[in-house]
Structure formats: C-alpha cells, structure tokens
Symmetry: C2
Subunit: 128 residues, 2 copies
DNA sequence: TCTTATCTACGAAAATTTTCGTAATAAAAT
DNA sequence: ATTTTATTACGAAAATTTTCGTAGATAAGA
C-alpha cells in the first residue's frame, strides 16, 4: 500500500499534477509549455512551484544529464479521493448524494454515461 | 433571475456561508459561536471576514439596534453549482461522470440514496 | 575559444488570505 | 454616575501562495 500522508496540493500544484499524471514524466520545460497553453506563466514560476512540490514530496525527480525529470509522487485516484472528501465536506456539508444529484442535474452527462452510472449503482447494491 | 457574477468564496468565507445558509440570519456573535464548535477562532477574526464578505457582496446586513444582522447574499445552490463546476474542472479534468463514479464508489451512500439517484437518472433520461 | 542559450538554485517581492490588537461607541449592570 | 461588557471599525501583522529577478553552471553554436 502506498503511504497516505496526503498533503492537500494548492491550486497551482494541482494543475501541475494533472499535467504530470497525463504525461508520466516531464521536465520543467515541458510542464511549463503545457501550462502556457492555457495561461501566461513564467518559466521560473513553474520551476519554483515544482521545487516546492519536490520538498513536499508531491513529485519525485531524477537527474537525466543536466536537467531534472519529474514525476508525480502521489497517485491520481487517491489524490482525487482526498480532494473529493474535503470538497463534499466543505461545500455539501458531507452529503455525497446531494453533490451527485446536483452534478447529474447540472452537468452535461451523456446517455451512455448515465447508463454507466446506473450499472455502477446496481453493482454496488448487489455488493452490499 | 439572480445576478450570477459569482465571486469564489475563500475557505473561511464558505464556512461562514454554510452557517448563514443554515441559520438564515445571524449576528457575528452567533456565527462565531457556531465556528467555535469545530475550531478555535477569535471573535474579531470572524468579524473581519464577515466585513470583507459584506464588501464583496457575499452577505448583506441590516442594523438592528446597535449591532448588525447578517444574511447570505448568494444562494446556496448557485454557489454550490459554481464551486462544483470549478472542482470538476480542476480535479477531474472536466469529467462529471468520473467524479460521480468515484463519489459513489468511495463514499458511504445508503441504499435509499442510491435508489434516489437512479430515479433521478431515469427522469433525466426521459427528459432528453 | 567565445558567445549565446538553457537549466537550476535561491531569495525576495507581490498577492492573497487569515488572524488579531486597539480604540471608539453604546448598552447594561452595579 | 461609574464601571463593566459587548459590538464595530480599522489597520496591521502573520501566514500562505504565487510570481519573478538574478546568479551560477553547463551545454550548444559560431
């Protein structure tokens, strides 16, 4: 089992984690290029945040020649899980159901996805 | 229709909004008493945050005699909706389905609630 | 070789959020 | 009337997060 000492990432840190989860491994340059697609951000800003993330153990890195190659050190699912718990607590007073119902009502969810969710519910109910 | 220029509340502000949504109207003292149930917080700290919220138009207030009575100026549902959208974007890369599935899998959701969600899905499917 | 470009480390500035101390004022209690 | 208590306004300190400038080192190019 992975260690679960989960530090809540800041918003900027989460953006970078998303990129690392998608890319697997990446240099600061690559991450900064990705970030630049959606917002203005200086290279050293990205570098600094990634250095802080390294100190917090949110990412690991290896020396490849002269530069560092980074990788997420926390899993995507466990992190999402932790953030989801906190979010449900703070925004929906702990009621996952209320949140799910609002998500289904408000978001664009396709017929296929709704079917998928129903199947999941069925399998949960069987499992209980 | 209400105005939808939604400022994202900070975490502290959201805590106070939750209390105001629950109580309807409340003085700073009352809000602070509620907050004190779960964490250590000074009266002037709560006061200050509520004053900032007043400036941001997150709350309204009326003079009752010598003190102020506060009320949420933003609705609970629209605020949750906005926060949910942002959360799905930042944490689940925009996929409501993925979030819902993780919420259902990870959280304690009762059989009754699962049934309720299934009914909701059915009614959405009929509506489409 | 010399210049230019790239990457890292470091520190500090800027921006945001949270906390709290102090003073003024008005009500309540003695 | 005097003291005590409770409330607000204000400002600034503290903490956190984000941004960026500069210097040093190494590689690449002329």
């Amino acid at each position: 089992m992975e260690k679960q000492i989960k530090i809540k990432p800041t918003e900027s840190e989460l953006e970078i984690l998303q990129i690392l989860w998608a890319l697997g491994k990446a240099t600061v340059r690559q991450v900064n290029d990705e970030l630049s697609k959606t917002k203005e951000v200086g290279y050293t800003t990205t570098l600094k945040i990634m250095q802080i993330m390294f100190e917090k153990q949110l990412v690991s890195r290896t020396d490849e020649g002269r530069y560092h190659v980074y990788e997420a050190a926390v899993g995507e699912e466990p992190t999402q899980h932790m953030l989801l718990d906190k979010f449900i607590d703070s925004t929906f007073r702990g009621s996952a159901t209320r949140m799910v119902m609002q998500a289904l009502g408000n978001q664009q969810v396709s017929k296929e996805e709704l079917e998928e969710i129903k199947k999941l519910i069925d399998s949960i109910e069987k499992g209980q």
